[in-house]
């Protein structure tokens, strides 16, 4: 059954466009660049509009859009940027940040002193697979099942990426807080 252009546009405006903020935010964290994020978001919305007939009304429009965004990003942008994975992954398995702060600041009050830009910088420095998982969960509050759908991996993989990604992020923010003197490094 074919829809008129107007009908299609109305449906799209009603169901897809409200998720533009989410698409833009995720695009920004995937690309790390506002101009690129705008291009990515626009390309995503246009692609989504053109394949709107494939979208099942009433299903998860946000997850559908974010899946398109992710493919667009991987195909067009991922090769162009070179973001070094600067994090030593082996280090985080040993001790959690909580282990370091349990005697000095177990309630994590040092987090409050960290500025927003530093939080975003830390997220942006995560290796790709951890960054996208953390962003979908902590920026967009997607469920594990939705993240699995968008990133094309099993829920178990989502869980482990989320755990490691959050721990890496915590570690970076902790190191930053120590460096800034918000917290003294624990002796343990």
């Amino acid at each position: 059954m074919s829809q008129s252009h107007d009908e299609r546009r109305r449906g799209f405006e009603r169901e897809a466009l409200p998720h533009l903020d989410a698409v833009y935010r995720v695009a920004l964290r995937l690309s790390g660049d506002p101009a690129q994020a705008e291009d990515l978001a626009q390309e995503t919305m246009l692609k989504a509009f053109r394949s709107w007939h494939q979208y099942q009304q009433g299903t998860n429009a946000r997850a559908w859009l974010l899946t398109i965004l992710r493919h667009t990003f991987i195909n067009a942008y991922r090769q162009k940027k070179n973001r070094p994975a600067s994090v030593d992954l082996s280090e985080i398995e040993e001790f959690t940040v909580f282990h370091d702060v349990q005697d000095t600041d177990p309630e994590g009050t040092f987090f409050d002193q960290i500025i927003d830009d530093e939080v975003l910088r830390a997220i942006d420095s995560l290796p790709d697979e951890f960054r996208e998982t953390v962003v979908l969960s902590d920026v967009e509050s997607l469920s594990y099942a939705e993240i699995a759908e968008v990133t094309g991996v099993p829920v178990g993989t989502v869980k482990s990426r989320l755990y490691r990604g959050r721990q890496i992020l915590q570690r970076q923010l902790y190191e930053y807080a120590v460096e800034m003197g918000y917290l003294r490094r624990s002796a343990t």
């Binding site: 546009r9 533009l20 705008e38 978001a41 509009f49 702060v101 987090f111 927003d116 920026v139 594990y144």
Partner: protein, 88 residues
Amino acid sequence: MNDQPTPVNCQEAADRLYEYLDGELTPEIELAVRAHIAKCAPCFKRFDFEETFLRFLAARIRSQGAPPELKRRILESLFSDSDLPERE
């Protein structure tokens, strides 16, 4: 029926840390983890710390939205887009 959840130990609670905080557990396991952290001070502190961290993250990064100019541009491109479905 037995209302007591099957008890979990510290390791089992820790393994479900984020699933618990993200609300991803089944009601039975959630209950068991909650019962454990209620009576285990070290686990309670860890869960509390991680919950603080997640709340902090959410507060700092969720606010940003798409620039109004981008929204306008997208609406315009939809208006002018041809009616043909995309060909793969």
